[in-house]
């Protein structure tokens, strides 16, 4: 292929990746913003979403049912984890990190015990090709990007147009003040953690037909989510989405043109340096 079409393919891949990444990272950003904790098990929720999707769509034969079941099941796991582990330790930042690392290994290894070490695909619910003059492209990938985009808009609406969103934002801005105004902060915390898990599980579910489900797929999702959330500014949802688009596009481009490993090296180094130079991230000023 010539450079032109090659570049186009790279951008296309990057764009799809960017939307999925935005959806994946949104939950982490929400949890950090509202609860002020770093959830290291975030990537594991993504992986769980993919695995649940495989189970449900294999059992019921319907991808759509799986797409509904995955975020619900993973959200429930997240809520359970919040109640059993995070609340008892009082959301203390460093203990939470250690606890979520523990959670990561427990969930991952339980999946290894039950689901096994296989990478298993799910047939895409819709299959069509988009034919460009130079190459054909999987239509499902474009659908994934569109669905992720719609979900992002819905999340935004929920956050700015509903009472739940109001509670989330109030807790993020000032926990004690929110409590004084009768926002059920404890319940909001649990809900935020569940929502965060559910959103990323949805991203994991959407990606199964493209990527296959594997018990170790969470680490990459976690690291890329960190990259995006930090670049976008800890706790800033808008920053997260913008950063996801930038990182997703450049990641796709470098992956196609050079190598995926190099793309990840660049991204992780970049974020390390950004955080060290500008502690709040690129869009950090709007976080409370």
């Amino acid at each position: 292929m010539d450079l032109g079409p090659h570049l186009f393919l790279a951008l296309l891949e990057g764009l799809v990746g960017a939307f999925v990444l935005a959806l994946t990272a949104l939950g982490l950003s929400l949890v950090f913003g509202v609860m002020r904790i770093v959830n290291v098990a975030h990537g594991t929720f993504f992986m769980l979403g993919a695995v649940v999707t495989w189970y449900v769509s294999t059992l019921t034969g319907s991808f759509l049912v799986a797409l509904l079941a995955a975020p619900l099941a993973v959200g429930a796991v997240a809520i359970l984890a919040d109640r059993l582990v995070l609340r008892p330790i009082g959301y203390e930042p460093e203990s939470t990190i250690v606890a979520t690392i523990g959670l990561l290994y427990i969930l991952e290894q339980v999946v290894l015990m039950t689901y096994g070490p296989y990478a298993r695909p799910v047939a895409a619910p819709i299959y069509f090709r988009v034919d460009f003059p130079w190459f054909g492209y999987s239509g499902y990938k474009l659908v994934v990007a569109a669905v992720a985009g719609v979900l992002l808009v819905l999340a935004w609406l929920a956050l700015w147009r509903t009472t739940l969103g109001l509670h989330l934002r109030a807790t993020q801005q000032d926990r004690e003040m929110a409590q004084a105004f009768a926002v059920p902060v404890e319940r909001v915390y649990t809900l935020a953690f569940g929502l965060g898990g559910g959103l990323t599980a949805l991203a994991g579910a959407l990606i199964v037909p493209v990527q296959q489900a594997h018990y170790l797929m969470g680490l990459d999702a976690l690291l890329m989510s960190f990259v995006v959330v930090i670049l976008g500014g800890l706790g800033s949802l808008r920053g997260t989405v913008v950063a996801a688009l930038v990182v997703g596009l450049s990641d796709g481009a470098v992956s196609v043109l050079f190598s995926p490993t190099l793309a990840k090296i660049v991204a992780t180094l970049l974020v390390g340096l950004v955080l060290a130079v500008r502690g709040r991230g690129l869009f950090g000023e709007e976080s409370a």
């Binding site: 904790i37 770093v38 582990v85 008892p88 330790i89 930042p93 460093e94 203990s95 990190i97 250690v98 606890a99 690392i101 523990g102 959670l103 990561l104 290994y105 427990i106 969930l107 991952e108 290894q109 339980v110 290894l112 015990m113 070490p117 680490l219 690291l223 960190f226 990259v227 930090i230 800890l234 190598s259 490993t261 190099l262 990840k264 090296i265 992780t268 180094l269 974020v271 390390g272 340096l273 955080l275 060290a276 130079v277 502690g279």
Partner: protein, 312 residues
């Protein structure tokens, strides 16, 4: 006095143990002693400075690659390779320290993790040099002693070199945390602003702590490579950054003997679990969650709180 006595007694016990241990456990304990030295290095930072790192595998692996690559590609001798490993570990800790110490709290943790991941991916990316995941095996590692050489892979030699390393690191860390510099680090951990107010340059102190911790971890990495003749990118991966955290927490962070106790318990727990299931890393998760929920002070920390206030 009784503190020093206790530490010497522990080392002495490990020394005598090699006479009675069956071969399998003999090798196991040798490995544990090297890994405990790594945990001791980690504990300097977590336990005595209050900085939680998720990227210590970089220092361990920098030591490993520093020694392994120079032997493999340039035919360095053991002494030269040891030195090269030290330099590599020190350089890595200087770079990581200067970058990460601009941040604090959870950000410090994430940046160390990110840099470590970049380092790990780099060991995969340059796989012509490092052989990536598969790694490479070194052979014929001997140290000359007045004409006749000693084979480092010989079990007896292995055990005693590991014991020597542990002794140096354990007593070194004991001396360090009881020295004025170590005391100031603890003050820094407890209250940064007050320490600053007393006129200490907290940034420089933290950098010293990162260097000391990174160097100790690096020495453990070098020794691991020299004794077990293997270098591979697994040791740069995320799990090897989490292990020292786990060992230190379980044994008791901020106690000199905690890392050794934690490494001993955990390595055997992982070994037993790996005989039962492929998913043996589940014990890592269970112990992490359990420790944070019910025993945040760890084994030695708990003993100190209850029975022996004098434990360092």
């Amino acid at each position: 006095m009784r503190v020093l006595g206790l530490h010497l007694a522990v080392l002495g016990l490990l020394g005598v143990l090699q006479l009675v241990l069956p071969p399998f456990h003999h090798g196991m304990v040798a490995r544990i002693m090297v890994l405990a030295a790594y945990a001791i290095g980690y504990n300097l930072l977590l336990g005595y400075t209050g900085l939680m790192s998720l990227g210590h595998a970089t220092f361990f692996a920098a030591g490993m690659y520093g020694a392994g690559l120079t032997i493999h590609h340039w035919g360095f001798g053991v002494a030269g390779a040891f030195l090269a490993g030290l330099v590599a570990a020190l350089a890595a800790s200087a770079v990581v320290g200067v970058i990460t110490l601009r941040t604090a709290g959870p950000a410090f943790l994430i940046v160390t993790m990110m840099l470590a991941q970049a380092f790990y991916l780099a060991t995969l990316y340059f796989n012509e040099l490092t052989m990536g995941e598969q790694g490479f095996v070194l052979s014929g590692l001997r140290v000359g002693f007045g004409g006749r050489g000693v084979d480092l892979t010989e079990p007896v030699v292995k055990y005693n070199v590991a014991l020597g390393l542990l002794a140096v690191c354990l007593l070194g860390s004991l001396a360090f945390v009881r020295s004025p510099a170590g005391r100031v680090l603890v003050a820094l951990r407890e209250n940064e602003e007050r320490t600053q107010l007393l006129g200490y340059n907290t940034y420089r102190l933290r950098l010293v702590a990162v260097l000391a911790s990174g160097l100790t971890s690096g020495v453990a990495g070098v020794t691991y490579t020299l004794l077990f003749s293997y270098v591979g990118s697994t040791f740069a991966g995320v799990l090897y950054s989490i292990y020292p955290l786990l060992w230190t927490l379980l044994g008791g962070s901020g106690t000199t003997l905690g890392p050794l106790v934690g490494t001993l318990l955990m390595t055997y727990a992982v070994d037993v679990a790996s005989g039962v299931t492929d998913a043996y890393l589940v014990v890592v998760g269970v112990v992490l969650v359990g420790a944070i929920l019910w025993a945040p002070a760890g084994v030695v920390g708990g003993i100190r709180a209850r029975w022996a206030r004098w434990l360092p």
